[in-house]
Structure formats: C-alpha cells, structure tokens
C-alpha cells in the first residue's frame, strides 16, 4: 500500500470509532475510486438531497449541526450559506478553498488525495444549497498530486452521473472546475482567492461587500474549506443531532489536527473537538511525546498565525472556546510543538520572514510593518539587538493590529506579541548577550 503522501493518520481508530468519519477510509488505497467510495456509502447524501430536500432544508440541517468553518476563522457554515440572496438574478458560485498554506497545516491534502469523492460530495451538496451550477476547487499549485486526483475524481463523478446534467434525474445540473494556484499564502484568504481565480493578482479585497453578496465575477459566492465541506455529507446522512452530539456544546463535530515539530509521531489525526491537547501530544496513539524525550517548551495550537501556549496551558481542550480562554485560537488545527532546545527569537524570525514574504502589499501597515519587524528581529537574532528593541517591536505590532484590510496583518503580529509576553526574559537575554539563551541546533538526520 502506498500513498503519495506518507503522512501518518489515525484511520485505524476512525474505522472502529463510530464518531469519527472524515478519516474512516483514508488508509484504503482504493478509496479514491468512485466505485469503492460508493460501496462505502458514498454519494448517498447527495442522492438524498436531490431526492427531495429543499435548499432551505439542507441549510437548516447544516445550521443545526453546529458545523463551523475549518479553514481558520470558525464561522458557522450553515449561517454563511444563508447569506446568499435567494433568487439572485446572477449565478451563484461555490469555491472550495484548498489553498492549504498556513504553516503547520497539512490535512486537506489527505482528504483530496485519499478521499477526493468525499470532498466532491460535500461540495455538491453545498452548491445545491446555494443554487450554484458551476463549482470550483482552488488547489494550491504545488499540490500536483491533489490536483490530478481531484481532476480524475471529477471526471469519474461526471461519468457516473454524480455531476453533470440532470443529476439522478432530478433536473439539477452541476459542473465542477478544478483550478490550481500559483504558490501564494494570501490566496487562501477568501477574497484574495477570488481575485486569483479571476486571473488577477492575488490581493485581498476590501469588505463589504462580503463574498456571499458579491464574490466571484461580482456574483454571490461561498468559500468553504475542504474539511468543512467534507463533513457535510455525514451531517446529511446521519442528521444534525448526531453531529451535534460530537465534540463540545459549542464546538460540535470532529476536527482534523496536523501535529508537527518536536513530537515522536507527527501526523494528521481526526478527533472530536474538545480533545485534550496534552493527550494529542503525549499519547502513544497520537504524538507519542516529545522528540528525544526532551522537555516541552511551547505549542502553537492552530497554525503559524495563532498565539503560543506554554507547557502549563496544554491541559486544554482543542475547541474554539477553550483555546480562546487560554489566549489562543483553534485556527486551522495545525499544532506545532517545540522543545526546550528552541530559541524563541529564532522561531519568530522564521514566522516573520514568512509573513513579510506573503504580505500582498495592498495596505501600508502590513506591507511596511512586516518589513520593519523582520529587520529588527533579524538584528536581534544575529546578536545585534539594542536596548529598546523589544519596546519598538511592540509598538510596530500595535500599529499593525486591527488596521489592515485582511487578517494577515493580525496573523503576523499575534505570535510575536505572544512570544514576547511569554518569553520576555529570553528576548532580553538575546539583546543583552548577543546570543541565544538556549542553543538551537536542529541537525538534519
């Protein structure tokens, strides 16, 4: 058995645990074929929807399930669909966001590669709910294997009558376009994604209007993450009440977590929302503990743009509310772990380099601010920090936060503020001594 991506998953747990559903078949090497997908119950939800559910019934079911966006912002999915004007004179569009570029995140890729029809079925149901007849999936350009898989699956779905004209004799038509990007993190931001899809530079748009009112080609458009959409067929099949019973009261359902960095068993794991972060890191079934049995220093729980957690905080549930309580965010579910031998200034240097590189340049605070921050942080990291640098960094951060067109500006700033708050002494040491307090040496083995 071999997959393009050798990543570890907990599919074996998912096959025996009735609550898990996204990863149930991701270790089945045949699952990407429509026939096998169908033999596992695939496309039954789509048939059920076209067999007599109204668009409002579909929206209500998803609303009642409590499903929230898995792309980072956590917006309630059914509610978002409800924003699309009814009987719009313009066509409506669905764009599945498969840009997957938030550092640490590598989960959507598994769904596209190993269960592409699950993604298509979810997209189709969402498309129907908003009255869309041409749906897109925007896949980051580097994911060639996913692009090929999704194209193949879309072709197959059409051949087998799941897409195309008059699907299942219902009179409903739906076509799918697999679109590939050009390697830009910002194109994961939904309005930049739409510009990119229109053939423009991938720069964010000023809101309002929100995409649900005026999105792709100035028409009502819904953008949803791959994982959010992949959950939809399960909600339709088993009902909102079943889904709502999973997870916590306010964070319902399951979520995929990408675990990376200094753990013994990095991988992608499907767990119920509210699952213990500590368990995810240390349990032998999941992360298996810290690499080389070193001491944990910190965790980024939701992708590169979410604030850090220190070891005292990891006894926390992985859900939207609990992570907010400890000052961070669930984000895209990318848990990045680092041990005691990691310099915090070095981490921030890595992250700010990324954000500066990916800033689309449309607004000054983000474009200029990330540049200033990178220069200052590089200086400190190189041992040339000066008294007052920390305060200057804090000031620049304060001038970016909340003053930008899209959330990338905030995303760049929040980890920095949190790194200073949690490890201020270490920053000071770096400036005073011109070197790291802890020796950072990650040799490639």
């Amino acid at each position: 058995m071999s997959f393009y991506s050798p990543v570890i998953t907990n599919a074996s747990e998912a096959t025996s645990n009735e609550k898990l559903h996204l990863f149930k078949y991701v270790e089945d090497p045949q699952q990407h074929k429509s026939e096998i997908f169908e033999s596992h119950g695939g496309y039954t939800a789509w048939r059920k929807v076209l067999g007599g559910m109204s668009t409002q019934q579909v929206i209500d079911e998803v609303k009642n399930s409590g499903l929230r966006g898995r792309g980072g912002a956590g917006f309630p999915t059914g509610m978002k669909w409800g924003f699309v004007p009814k009987n719009s004179p313009k066509p409506t569009y669905l764009c599945c966001n498969a840009d997957e570029s938030e550092p640490g995140t590598c989960k959507d890729r598994v769904l596209m590669e190993r269960d592409p029809h699950g993604v298509i079925e979810g997209m189709a149901i969402a498309a129907y709910a908003i009255g869309c007849h041409i749906m897109f999936i925007y896949i980051r350009g580097e994911f060639n294997h996913c692009i090929e898989r999704m194209e193949e699956a879309a072709r197959e779905a059409r051949e087998r009558g799941h897409l195309g004209e008059n699907i299942y004799g219902s009179g409903y038509d739906l076509e799918m376009i697999v679109h590939s990007g050009g390697g830009a993190y910002i194109c994961g931001e939904e309005t930049a994604l739409l510009n990119s899809l229109e053939g423009e530079r991938g720069m964010s748009r000023i809101r309002p209007p929100i995409p649900a009112i005026e999105g792709l080609y100035a028409s009502p458009t819904i953008v949803n993450n791959v994982e959010s959409l992949a959950a939809v067929p399960h909600i339709i099949n088993r009902g909102a009440d079943w889904y709502k019973a999973l997870g916590t009261e306010k964070s319902t359902g399951t979520k995929l977590f990408s675990l990376s960095g200094h753990v013994k068993r990095p991988g992608n794991f499907e767990v119920e929302l509210g699952f213990s972060l500590e368990k995810l890191i240390y349990d032998p079934e999941y992360g298996g503990g810290i690499l080389d049995d070193k001491k944990l220093k910190g965790v980024i729980p939701g992708g590169a743009s979410t604030p850090f957690l220190t070891p005292e905080m990891i006894n926390v549930g992985l859900d939207y509310e609990s992570l907010t309580t400890v000052g961070s965010m669930l984000g895209s579910g990318a848990v990045m772990v680092f041990h005691e031998g990691t310099c915090i200034v070095w981490i921030i240097k890595k992250l700010i380099h990324f954000f500066r590189h990916e800033s689309c340049g449309k607004c000054t605070p983000c474009r200029e601010g990330t540049g200033w921050l990178e220069n200052m942080i590089n200086r400190i990291e190189a041992g040339q920090g000066q008294p007052g640098d920390i305060e200057k960094i804090e000031e620049v951060c304060g001038n970016i936060l909340g003053r930008t067109i899209c959330p990338l500006g905030d995303a760049a700033v929040m980890p920095i503020q949190s790194a200073i708050k949690n490890w201020r002494e270490e920053w000071q040491y770096h400036i005073d001594h011109g070197k790291c307090q802890v020796e950072t040496d990650f040799s490639f083995r």
Partner: protein
C-alpha cells in the same frame, strides 16, 4: 514559438471551461511552466494570443506568483521548505548540506546545469518534515541517506 502544440491545446481546453476567459490565466501559466520550466515575456505573449488576453495582463498576474521561476533554472529545481515545522527538524541544516554537496549557494545553479537550489515557504508537508519539492514532486520524511539516494537517482536519469 516556445509553447508546443500540446501545451496550446491544453491551454485552450482549460480556458473553455471558465465562465470568464481571464480565469484561464493561472492554469495557462501552469501549463507553460510545466513545459518550459520557467516563464518569461515571450511566453506571456504566446499565452495572450492563445486565450485572447493582452500579454500585459498575463504578466501582471504571473509576476505575483512565486511558484513560477521567471528565468531559466537547472534541470532539477530543488525547493526546500524552510518554514517552522520543517526547520524544527533540520531544514536549515539540510539546505547547508545540499549547498556543500552541490558546491553552490542557495539561489544558484550547478555548472552542469542540473540543479538549482532554493528555499520556499510551507508546502503542506509539515507532519512529514523535512521535505523538498523537486520540480513538481514532493519528497518527504527526508534523511541524509534518502536525500543522497534521491540526488544520485536524478543524476543517473539526467
């Protein structure tokens, strides 16, 4: 002409799918990049003729996207992810290792024109780090041994 008949055909097919022609720009650039290995003004002009869009609009879009090299690169473009998850498990030392082994610095191409080494942002392989993308393929969970073997295979194939 730089674009082959096959590429032109592919671009036309892709362009036909979209409700608006301009949406075909990125897919067209991707097809051209796959064929040529980089992009340039002549390619923008050719694409412009195929999909009937002013070349300047194609260039405008193309220059935004870092995935496409804008000048010729080696036969194998080695793209090492240097972002956090990869760096925590040795990406930076992997870059140094490659620099030493190939006798070039990051951003350079070997004299025989085989390898260009660059570092890139997160490629969505964070739980299978460190990783490298070579041309269009990912190679994950790398060790020194695996990387050595990979380079040997590429040399043998060249």
């Amino acid at each position: 002409m730089i674009l082959t008949e096959e590429s032109i055909q592919k671009i036309k097919e892709k362009a036909a799918r979209y409700p608006h022609r301009k949406s075909a720009i990125l897919p067209a650039l991707t097809v051209a990049y796959r064929q040529v290995g980089h992009l340039n003004d002549e390619i923008y002009r050719e694409i412009g003729r195929v999909i009937n869009i002013p070349p300047v609009e194609i260039a405008e879009a193309a220059t935004f996207y870092t995935m496409f090299p804008k000048k010729p690169v080696g036969k194998y473009l080695l793209q090492v992810c240097h972002n956090l998850s990869c760096a925590l498990v040795g990406a930076d030392s992997m870059i140094t290792y490659l620099e030493d082994k190939l006798g070039i610095k990051k951003g350079e191409t070997t004299d025989d024109g085989l390898f260009t080494l660059i570092s890139v942002e997160c490629l969505g392989s964070c739980a299978t780090a460190p990783m490298i993308q070579i041309n269009h393929d990912f190679h994950e969970n790398l060790t020194r041994e695996k990387l050595d073997k990979l380079l040997e295979e590429l040399r043998a194939k060249a």
